[in-house]
Amino acid sequence: MPFRVDNHWEKAMSKVRVLVGTRKGAFILTADGKREKWDVSGPHFAGWEMYHVKGSPADPNRLYASQSSGWFGQLIQRSDDGGKTWHQPGTPPGEVPAPGPPKAASNKFVYDASDATGRPLTTHQWYDGTQHPWEFKRVWHLEPSLTEPNTVYAGVEDAAIFRSTDGGENWQELSGLRGHGTGPKWQPGAGGMCLHTIILDPSNPERMWIAISAAGAFRTDDAGKSWKPINRGLRSQYIPDPNAEIGHCVHHIAMNTSRPGVLFMQKHWDVMRSDDAGDNWKEISGNLPTDFGFVIDVHAHEPETVYVVPIKSDSEHFVPDGKLRVFRSRTGGNEWEALTNGLPQRDCYVNVLRDAMAIDSLDKCGVYFGTSGGQVYASADAGDSWAPIVRDLPAVLSVEVQTLP
């Protein structure tokens, strides 16, 4: 006989932890499963740009954070206690550094140009069409392994993917991506040439997807050794060949873990879906007021329910008509409804960046997003109604959520 966990009991016992990266520090927002009363912790790393903070699915107390600064470069921070304390991997808290060569290498991202495993460090296209050297700038996205707490992937600018298998202490490039052949044609988007999306396939440890602005989407089927562009069906009017194999400004890709072959994409313009793991894409923008935007995400339990936040245009990075509206499709695209209950519907001109939406796995699932105005909104009923958790943080760069027992 099937056993069904009582929903009220689950909500009372569960907990959610929202990890927010902002332009001036990180914040951790926690609540029980009702998601009504929130505790706010932070700022962590005050004054630093926190591009991304994400927890390990294999060990929820293991958090990774990308800490960045125009003055001081890139750092990686790790917490082993759910964000109470942090350290740079390689320099455990409280340990007096020994004399001799420094141990910490957690912020050392070196493109692999070695003969044995690497690819020649070629150039890529610059904004003006000339070739430009590959230069590491920052980590945009950290994606912890689904099964190994010490394994984590980093998507970086200039675009490449790195992997650490020792908890973020040392990083090795998966150079097959940068070196697979189209690299010299990649070019930066307005925000830089960043690898901003990494999706791991829970049903196939050999498969993952990544996306780069402005090169497009790529997939590996051999755990990162080789990669291929998966951009068939994308059409971008702003490049010489609108149907080119690469050069598309993909802003974000999302997937429901129960259905790994189906992907949803917010491109620069156009909302897209693929039903064959990215081999082919079709447009699902439908009745959206504008199909420019950054975020896209999928309901935790309904794989045909998708969320986007339309932004007016690529020259006006704010929501249209002064109204902050999340749009939800329950049909896998094309038919969208505006979700406005609890969101400002006048004089609102914020943006929502590509990594700034997340969805928990409670029933009903919670939806969270952060804005350039420093608000983090939460919905405990899959988007039907919204309330701000916080209103006045620094501009939000990223939002992730952990559903905890």
């Binding site: 005050a46 004054g47 630093w48 600064s69 125009g70 003055w71 001081f72 470069g73 890139q74 750092l75 740079q88 390689g90 320099t91 550094p97 004399p99 001799g100 060569p101 420094p102 141990k103 910490a104 290498a105 912020n107 050392k108 991202f109 070196v110 590491f136």
Partner: protein, 94 residues
């Protein structure tokens, strides 16, 4: 002397004292700083190229040493500990 964010990172005050083996120059001073405080590695000079980060400058004895070769001797007053080597972050944003 360190910028505020690096003091926070290393959990130190504004000024740190270091034993630097001769010859005392920018390279050996920064090597000693990073050996004592490994969390600062990569924050003052790039991990790979060892180039000074562009928004940081090195001053000492009322001189700008930012563009000096890393192996050029530091002033005697710095080497002897009478004067500090100042690592200064660019002031921006206002």
């Amino acid at each position: 002397m360190l910028p505020q964010h690096l003091r926070t990172l290393a959990q130190v005050g504004a000024e740190v004292e270091l034993e630097v083996e001769a010859p005392v120059n920018l390279r050996s001073a920064l090597d000693a700083l990073e050996a004592r405080y490994p969390m600062l590695r990569g924050t003052i000079r790039d991990q790979v190229t060892q180039q000074r980060r562009p928004f940081l400058r090195f001053f000492a004895c009322e001189e700008d040493l930012s563009h000096e070769p890393p192996d050029a001797p530091l002033p005697d007053a710095v080497a002897s500990g009478k004067e500090p080597l100042l690592i200064i972050g660019a002031i921006a944003g206002g």
